[in-house]
């Protein structure tokens, strides 16, 4: 199976790998997937209080190349977006951007879930109303 150039680039040169301080109130963490399934994604966002936009995003992923590329791409897209904009990211956009083959669509679903879980965590931490959109529309 040949992968797209974009996917290979995100896999070989993953953007925004790392860890943000969980203790920081401005940081939301989403941990999705399971080791038994062969995919675990941890995606973190740091929200700028004044503008309400995501000023930093980091990830670490245990998984195949498509899972790593999906989460790397997600962190790139998140930076600079408002929470509402971030919630609009649809897994199928990731599928298209990286040209994921059908057997790898679940990787994009996981990335979308990770985004939503991170936002939910941020909103809960800060006593904000949790957006209904953080509930995954998949499964």
């Amino acid at each position: 199976m040949a992968y797209s150039e974009k996917l290979l680039d995100h896999f070989k040169n993953p953007r925004n790998v790392g860890t943000l301080d969980k203790g920081n109130n401005k940081v939301g963490t989403g941990l999705v997937g399971a080791p038994e399934c062969g995919d675990v994604m941890r995606l973190q966002i740091e929200v700028d209080d004044e503008s309400g936009t995501i000023k930093d995003a980091k990830f670490k992923t245990f998984g195949c190349g498509s899972a790593i590329a999906s989460s790397s791409l997600a962190t790139e897209w998140l930076k600079g977006k408002s929470i509402d904009e971030a919630l609009e990211i649809d897994n199928m956009e990731i599928v298209e951007e990286l040209a994921l083959p059908p057997v790898k669509i679940h990787c994009s679903v996981l990335a979308e879930d990770a985004i939503k879980a991170a936002i939910k965590d941020y909103q809960e931490k800060n006593g904000l109303e949790v957006s209904p959109k953080t509930e995954s529309s998949h499964h």
């Binding site: 038994e36 062969g38 245990f62 879930d113």
Partner: protein, 407 residues
């Protein structure tokens, strides 16, 4: 076109053809294009002679009579012919077959088909080394048991079953013994008659011969074993397998068997040293590396390793432009389930997802192994830097205690 510098460590999937094999085959595409069943002209005679000679070369490798070799299209066909053919032929004696959970899919799926046809199949467990329990095997035998089917060496782990003891149990109970010996023939000495194996499937392309040709050994005397043909037609191969013989393929298979007989012991010796070097280097330079399957009872050229908290398919992607191996992580399958063989050994799904199989071959050099060690070490380190569960593990977080969201 495959890059020449690409290192091939996936010889359990298929072996490259030995050039001596290709040379032997070529005349049977050009000067000698005959059908071995054409009895009335020299084209047919030459082809038949070539097939007979190859049959002798193959029989010599496994120490049987040439008449006991039935040519097939490969081991999958051999497995199907042995299992379904015995089930049909011995229906009056019984309908029960005993096999093992770690068998190749060709055996397991043929057994499932047999169950649909009214047969009963017992699937034996293996221990954490991949070996069956002989007492369990004996206890599973009933008065309806007609066949025991145990593979000689496992394709994923290289683990070799206690064939001699299994043969003795079958002998004691008067049950036929079939073995899928695809991974063993041509790599280690395999002598079915001395073991009490009555039927044995194997294939050319795992022993440096061409693809598309294999053989089923069927014992002819004491006991005289017969299988019901699964392919009906012209009655070739003593009526057990119809179909025009693949003459060039069979010639190549014969040559491959002849070379294997001469060279397999020295090949095995050299490859086991390289395998051990690979294993030790990875073990020494990386933390949390596990060997899957029995270390004492396994093929000399195979090792199956799990690199904890690294997903196998992702790991392979870090070096697959340079090194070809395979993984027990079935991330591409819709089910997301990892290798059933490794799961049967009692590995957690997470370690099964983290496994890589290295299978060395006749054309593997020490330099290849050195490059693999380098690529694997940097690949594992890269993937661990990316792995959230490796980070948690290093921080002392109990990963099993986390409530994961299954998807």
């Amino acid at each position: 076109m495959v890059d020449k510098r690409l290192i091939y460590l996936d010889n359990n999937a298929t072996t490259p053809c030995d050039p001596r094999v290709v040379d032997a085959m070529i005349p049977y595409f050009y000067e000698n294009p005959g059908n071995a069943a054409s009895r009335n002209h020299p084209f047919g005679w030459v082809a038949e002679e070539a097939v007979d000679y190859a049959r002798t070369q193959i029989a010599d490798l496994i120490n049987v009579d040439p008449k006991e070799i039935i040519f097939t299209s490969g081991a999958t066909e051999g497995d199907n012919l042995a299992l379904k053919g015995v089930f049909e032929m011995y229906a009056r004696k019984g309908n029960h077959i005993i096999t093992v959970k770690t068998e190749h899919k060709a055996v397991l799926d043929a057994c499932q088909k047999i169950e649909k046809l009214g047969g009963q199949v017992t699937y034996l467990d293996v221990n954490n080394e991949g070996l069956i329990d002989l007492d369990e095997l004996e206890a599973a035998i009933t008065d309806k048991t007609i066949l025991v089917s145990v593979m000689w060496a496992n394709n994923e782990t290289g683990v070799i079953q206690p064939m001699k003891q299994i043969g003795e149990i079958c002998e004691k109970h008067g049950i036929l013994f079939f073995s899928d010996a695809t991974q063993a023939v041509g790599k280690i000495p395999v002598d079915p008659k001395s073991i009490g194996v009555h039927l044995m499937a194997f294939t050319s392309h795992k022993m440096y011969g061409p693809k598309g040709v294999g053989a089923l050994f069927v014992n002819r005397k004491k006991p005289r074993v017969k299988v019901t043909a699964q392919m009906d037609g012209g009655g070739h191969e003593r009526g057990m397998r119809s179909g025009t013989l693949n003459v060039p393929g069979i010639v190549g298979f014969g040559k491959a068997a002849e070379i294997a007989k001469k060279e397999m012991v020295q090949d095995a010796e050299r490859l086991s040293k390289l395998r051990d070097k690979l294993e030790k280097a990875l073990y020494d330079s990386l933390e949390e590396v596990y060997i899957n399957g029995s270390v004492e009872n396994r093929m000399p050229h195979v090792t199956n390793l799990s690199f904890k908290h690294v997903e196998g398919e992702g790991l392979m992607m870090t070096f697959n432009q340079e090194i070809a191996v395979s993984s027990g992580s079935a991330c591409t399958s819709a089910s997301l389930e990892p290798s059933y063989v490794l799961v049967a050994l009692g590995l957690g799904d997470d370690l099964a997802h983290s496994s890589i199989r290295f299978s060395l071959g006749r054309f593997t050099t020490e330099e290849d192994v050195d490059r693999a060690i380098e690529a694997l070490t940097s690949g594992v380190n890269h993937m661990r830097d990316l792995s959230p569960i490796w980070e948690m593990y290093k921080e002392g977080v109990d990963i099993d205690a986390i409530e994961w969201t299954e998807h």
